[in-house]
Assembly symmetry: D2
Homo-oligomer: 355 residues x 4
């Protein structure tokens, strides 16, 4: 396999300057973000792709017409023409990559979580602050049309004062046991998205958390030291009570719903389906299941998220999801984990000395 | 404004050969198809763009990284490396362009209608047949996830023998009066999509048509010699009875629904919304309106349509929408127009001497 | 079997006077109305029940605690304490019964149709007018919560000026062939309800009708001289275009929907289900079928209808469904039948000399 | 006001024997059950009505054609022809009435709760057991078409092994503060229905409860020593985790939903609306709110409940809701109250010494 030149890319010299972005990590999520950066985020120019597996980087570069494919992300950090990086490498490299990028003065988009260790996150955030660069964490669901609309309605007071929040978040199938082992546990790996969604929707901080759950799907998950089903109650500083329920396996697919109940009404976000077909026969009326999993369900959200990041860089505005948001969700995961272990409500300040 | 070289496009030499496509017409729909051909149809290579307005062609070429921008489509026809063309120029040029492409041995995707004149269509189809090239007509709705699923279910016998068909097809707002004047009338311009959908869903031909309607929205539409509201009954050769209702203005947006009723059940396709949010307050439960208009509603269908065309070229298969399909919908528009004028059911063979 | 006295009925002498009603016909629909009159219409007193089959009358009287059971309805007409009658005997007796009741000065509720012959209806209406009694015809669907709400919204101008009407009216199963033979045909027997619904919803009269249809379900229905599937287009004097589709057999049950489209919006009435349960499993999301047939679907409407009749008598107001309404639906059935036979639109004045 | 004889009730001597029932309490809920017993439960004969307010008893007796109206329920207990009583008097009289009825050998239907004191309930249940009579407690929601269908589906294994339960139970408006003061608190007065529903749906017992909540609607409720918003987590002996959320005031009306998630699927019960009308205009699609409150929402369930009770008496079967069910819901209310006060999960055996 060799690379051949198949085209030239011309651009009108008068067009507004694009943001040069370097992609770090050409795995599943890196390829998704790479395609968006290359072709669907008008203000971005995907300038280089790095992956420790050089062939992966080259293959994606070839597909997307990107001139530079590398096996060492440091060379992206050294490239002065690159203003921003999208970090899609494995979770254990996130902290190091963000620090390197910050040191190099580059703005950072990073997949969640920043790190699974709170002290390490604080180091990273300090580095980001010192460098004065932007950091957007990959809580993509905030950019979903339905959830952002729900947030907007809450913020506008459409349902009065929020009182009760409910999040349903169930996966169609559990990840491999090998992944479970290094995932940090269900609260750190799965509920973390819902912790962020809860804060986003309510616009306030949780004060304490009570978490419960069990192994209901696969005993191997239990043997790996994790649970596969969890119900979490959040009590917010403003009095709102939130409930999250998680399952690693919903037979009917990816179940992603929220409900915000307030003094003047309720907002319900239901699942998104692949089609609007209903069939009635002698047995009932039948409709499609939800879109299968996060790639299908959140494809538009991933695009909107990356677009928002590049625009935040271009217009020098604060990203919708900041490093502090990334940190807060991890604090909540800490509290949930402790609550589950000790079977009691845990205050966030018990696990976060900075509060 | 000048073009500057901003990148090179490399491709793995071992990858399966892409189909070189030339785009004719860089207006609204041309830009939409152009973006898909350039970036989202993996097996296509958008090689050249032509528009009588050179600047439009150049602008789109610049945006999409296409090396060749022309003001004369004939130069696309002359380019031997180009295997297929996508015709998105104005309706009155379709016939001529298809003939030129066929003569040049290129496969053709053409927006609907082939022509508004049946005799002219027959000439074009003869040219296409003689040349042995493929012709796919732009009835994009067939590629919509819901409608193609409905067709699949009917074809599988999921609802038994089809008996009654209902199509609701209403636009959010009428086109400008200037457009109405040259549109060929509501049946040729608007219902034509529904005629094709009816044939597609039922998998049979209409035998006769009874059409009625009136000017209910805007008297200027009447003064331009057209109507703005129409109800059409189709009687199919296999006995199915179909009803189509059209309005040029639905206050709540683009209304695109179908219902197929059969001996064993019914299929309903409802509208697609931009989000899955419902708000309940003291007055009721409120949900979003349908996606605004055809670009929003059918964006995925436009992509699937173009992908299907390029794959039909690549694999040498028959397109899902053929020239004959394009012709048949025009025959139906003829019959509906005559029925409306004479207030009586009109047999298709009255307007189509070839039957 | 003998009757035994099991109780006395006491009433507060000070309560407002109830309307004494005599029930004629103790068949299926008679029993339904009888139960409502006896126990659920507070202002009614079911005073007597007559049926040519005395045992039926006695059985129902026993069940409902009614003191008088007769085999001759004339004795009800002769009973001066009875102010109103509910005629639920077979269709061929309606005209005669209404005339007898009118002559006796009694107000009349009569199941639809008044008669299948227009000239006979005119005689009956003349008798009713001369007697100055009220006549309410049994178009029960007007009293359904959803349809009456739809009518109310149209009348209030909630959707602006109505433009298009659609009625779906499909039965879960055809009646016996013996019934089909004497039914007067699908338009007179089944569509007649939809003709009334159309007039009710739009609040205007039809000008002409185009009807089509066929035998798609059971060839025996064809041999009996009828069709089992029909699509009817109504053009109203105010320009509205209505479509009705009927089937004698919907595999998924009783399908009763309407849609009214106007300049400012659309009203959709969907089917009513026996429960609000949805089950999602690995194959899809499944919900209940519509309520089985007219007794289940319209039980509340039957009650509201009877209550409205008795209240109209009590308060001396005009019933919501008059004799003229009963006549008009028959005129429409005449026109639809002729249109079907001659395959052309038929003006109502062609079949109704009084226009 | 005086009673006058207005009719005789005859019955076929051959019909199967009805159950004579005495009604105790002619207030709002007593009148509702009285109407059902008199006219809509075929196998019942409402023989007598007692209320400490004699006029209330007489008025209802007059309306329903019941011969006996009393101010002292003991006279019902003494009437040997009466086999069963329906106790609809105030909560503080329930225990005493049940004991008196049991002593008199009568089967008992009693509105919930049996008593608010667990020790007193145990006395009552002992009396019922000793007498060998049936006791059905008024958890009417079990008889709702949707909830009973949901239970049936769970019991059949339609969704595999149940794992997560969610109940939404919100009232349209809080009761008067005077009522709040004597209600026993939100868990005893409102959540008690949901505790029963949870046990009914899952078919297992709760092991512990964690409850939280607050005063979010009306400070006066707080001043009365109660809360108006509560979220409760139930952990069942079989591992299922249930969440209940309650609010005393939902702006959009009576919100009564459940969700049961299991290894093979999910069951959702949504709200029941007064009509099936949806209106789309330029602002959105609008549908009706849920049925207003318990009388409207559960009218069919109240009827089914009473029918089931009388049939259990007639056929000597165990009622669907027993005295033990009534007791268990109170135990759960005890545990929830304690959990709320102490902000910790409470085992049911902490509050129920009999476990």
């Amino acid at each position: 396999m060799a690379l051949v030149l198949v085209g030239l890319i011309w651009r009108h010299s008068g067009m507004s300057k694009r943001v040069n972005v370097g992609l770090i990590g050409a795995g599943r999520i890196g390829r998704l973000h790479g395609r968006h950066l290359a072709h669907r985020v008008d203000v971005a120019n995907l300038a280089a792709i790095a992956d420790i597996n050089l062939e992966s980087a080259q293959e994606l570069a070839g597909e997307l017409g990107v001139g530079i494919a590398l096996d060492d992300p440091r060379r992206i950090m050294d490239d002065e023409s690159i203003e921003a990086v999208a970090i899609c490498s494995s979770t254990d490299t996130h902290a190091e990559m963000i620090e390197a990028a910050a040191l190099a003065g580059k703005h950072v988009f990073c997949e969640k979580p920043i790190d699974r260790d709170l002290a390490r996150i604080d180091q990273v955030l300090k580095a980001v602050d010192s460098a004065g660069v932007k950091l957007q964490v990959g809580f993509n669901r905030r950019f979903d049309a339905s959830f952002s609309q729900a947030r907007e309605l809450v913020a506008q007071g459409r349902i009065g004062v929020p009182q009760i929040l409910r999040i349903t978040s169930r996966d169609p199938q559990p990840p491999p046991i090998a992944y479970i082992r290094v995932s940090g546990g269900i609260f750190m790996d799965m509920t973390i998205h819902d912790f962020d969604m809860a804060r986003f929707l309510i616009g306030a901080e949780a004060e304490d958390i009570f978490a419960t759950g069990g192994v209901m799907i696969d005993p191997e998950i239990g043997q790996a030291g994790d649970i596969d089903t969890a119900v979490t109650i959040l009590r917010f500083e403003n009095g709102v009570i939130g409930t999250i329920d998680n399952s690693r396996r919903a037979a009917y697919g990816y179940d992603q719903r929220v409900e915000v109940f307030g003094s003047e009404g309720v907002i319900l976000v239901s699942n998104k389906k692949p089609d609007e077909v209903a069939v009635s026969d002698g047995h009932g009326t039948h409709a499609a299941l939800p879109l299968f999993f996060f790639v299908e369900r959140y494809v538009d959200a991933y695009l909107a998220e990356m677009k928002a990041f590049v625009e935040a860089v271009q217009h020098d505005t604060v990203p919708l999801v900041t490093g502090r948001d990334g940190r807060e969700a991890v604090v909540m995961a800490y509290a949930a984990r402790l609550s589950y272990r000790e079977n009691r409500p845990v205050l966030l300040r018990e696990v976060d000395p900075s509060r």
